[in-house]
Amino acid sequence: MAATATVSTRARVNQRRETTSTRTLISGVALNRPRGKIIYRVVLTLVIVVFTLVFIGPMYFLFTDALKSTQEVIATPPTLYPHSFDPGNFSTAWSRLDVGRMLWNTAYYAFGALALQLVFDVAAAYSLSKLRPVLGNVVLFLMLATLMIPVTVLVVPQYVTVADMPLFHWNLIGSPEAIWLPSVANAFNIFLLKRFFDSIPADYVDAASVDGASRLMILWRIILPMSRPIIAVVSIFSLVAVWKDFLWPLLVEYGYTPTRETLNVGIWQAQVGVPENLLIAASAMAAVPTIAFFLIFQRNIMAGLTAGGIRG
């Protein structure tokens, strides 16, 4: 599967190279001159070396320092590779910081939020795009207007609201719902999904309803199978958003009880009182799932960044 995927990307890239005139800032002719070739080689090598140092370098230390002893980690000058090779650091850090629990918490919050977002945001976008209820446009406008409100600004009233839900008087602090439910109020998801659903011709929906399909069936059997690319983009971004969030889980979960902390928060609070090498080992373990996720879904992530819209 993976192999076919890479083959097909490569084929696509080659195809694009052939079909479009790949003229960029510097022409191919200039690059083919002897002097151009030399300059290009030098720049290419330089860029590769500098980028590898700048972006892989810190991560190299993240994983090698995790293998060093406490004394070696804080030694000056630093050692370039672990002299005291100690993989036991990982298991010590795992049990001492309870990385497994933090990992489970984070995954639980992230996938729960993803499930709720997919159910409610897809249903809402479908309704706004294809069913078009009265006041639908007002609702859409109000939803999109929240894109203009910076998230961190609302942290206090949101916290107060979650601590005492209006009408119901539930206190959600410390429960996973405190992360799940607010994540549904994501105007960017609604925008992406609705725009994609709008591009599906009404004929498909009409034909299905002539055949007696219910609205739910139309969504499930027709709209969703056609919308896989956008569902992938929305899913990836919503997972990453919850996984990377810091302030909100710090307030509503860690603030309630430290055992509910996410990876991000747990790593931060372990800064005090945990030896450097164990902290770095825990930090490295926290980074592994996201790095793996990125390497697997790289193509979708990059496509989402550029095609799905712009969000820094």
Binding site: S21, R23, T24, L25, L31, V43, L44, I48, V54, F55, I56, F61, L62, T76, P77, D121, A124, S127, K130, L131, P133, L142, T146, M148, P150, V153, L154, V155, V156, P157, V160, T161, P166, L181, V184, A185, A187, D206, S209, G212, R215, W243, K244, F246, L247, V265, I267, W268, I280, S283, A284, A287, I291, F293, F294, L295, M302, T306, R311, G312
Partner: protein, 323 residues
């Protein structure tokens, strides 16, 4: 049922004239709307509770004060007056502006230059793209902790490098001093740029790949050199994305929180020299044990909201398409 559905589907797509000719009767219309709202209601409730209501509530809370024994009462402008008299308030704004300006110099220009260079390379582009975006995927606490360790004045890697080069060593994030370009804030910006530049780079790269090659061809035939081609082709062709990302970046950097929070372990640096506005909101609301006050935090939130709204509005007005 199928009949109703087809008429619904048709009336949704039909032009108004057709709809007027055959008015749907009341019952199907009610049914159609009820069904549509059933799909919509979950998201609407979540938006109401966690987005729309908090926006209104923030403004209300900023004009209230807590009453002994529970509840709130009106307080007029007293929360605003109090935060305006807090010296930390002005310090936090100054720091936030410093961060925003430095982040513009580094975090805005660097990704664009990097994207231009990457777009010219015929080899290893995929590898380099992956590299630039990799830090964006790290959990921010992991990435920043790495910098905590690099910046450490006793055994940090950066000081070792400076020492090796016979340059004066630095306290980095914990360097005292609040000059407009303070070492402490510069350290925060470096970590932040490393962490975040990937997404901007990839967005620019996509924009660069959409520039028609003929434009460069024509410019070269007219005798335009490399820098004039960048100035007169690349920048005008990517103008829209440059403007949009500039605005989004300023709005994002004005809300800086985690970078300074993790690097200084929640402290805000020596003499609060890296304390940001959002960190101050956090401190007002949650960190001052005993005297925690949501109301002054809300007032500060409203001020930040107004500043960002005025900035975005003014920016969009100033860069609107003329003619």
């Amino acid at each position: 049922m199928a009949n109703v559905l087809t008429s619904v589907a048709r009336s949704a797509a039909a032009p108004p004239a057709a709809r007027r000719r055959r008015p749907a009767s009341l019952l199907p219309r009610v049914r159609r709307n009820a069904a549509a709202w059933a799909f919509l209601i979950g998201a609407v409730l979540c938006f109401s509770f966690f987005s729309w209501y908090p926006i209104v509530r923030e403004v209300i809370m900023s004009f209230q004060k807590p009453v002994y024994g529970g509840g709130y009462t009106w307080a007029g402008w007293s929360n605003y007056i109090r935060i305006f008299h807090d010296p930390t308030f002005w310090q936090a704004w100054r720091n936030t502006l410093e961060f925003t300006v430095l982040a513009l110099v580094l975090g805005y220009a660097v990704p664009f230059v990097v994207a231009i260079v990457l777009n010219e390379l015929r080899h290893a582009q995929g590898y380099l793209r992956t590299l630039v975006y990799l830090p964006v995927m790290l959990p921010p606490a992991s990435a920043l902790l790495l910098f905590v360790y690099f910046y450490n004045p006793q055994y940090g890697l950066f000081d070792d490098v400076l020492h090796f080069l016979h340059l004066p060593v630095s306290q980095w994030v914990f360097q005292p001093g609040t000059g407009f370009v303070s070492t402490a804030m510069l350290s925060v910006v470096i970590a932040s740029t490393w962490m975040n530049m990937g997404s901007a780079t990839l967005i620019y790269l996509a924009a660069l790949q959409n520039i028609p090659g003929e434009l460069y061809e024509a410019a070269e035939l007219e005798g335009a050199g490399l820098f004039r081609r960048i100035r007169h082709v690349t920048i005008p062709q990517t103008r829209l994305i440059l403007i949009l990302l500039l605005m989004l970046q300023v709005v994002a950097t004005m809300q800086m929180f985690i970078e300074s929070f993790v690097l200084t372990n929640g402290g805000g640096g020596v003499g609060d020299n890296t304390l940001s506005v959002v960190m101050l909101i956090y401190q007002y609301a949650f960190a001052m044990s005993g005297a925690s006050n949501y109301n002054s935090a809300s007032a500060l939130g409203v001020v930040l909201l107004l500043v960002l709204a005025v900035f975005s509005g003014g920016f969009l007005w100033a860069t609107r398409e003329r003619g």
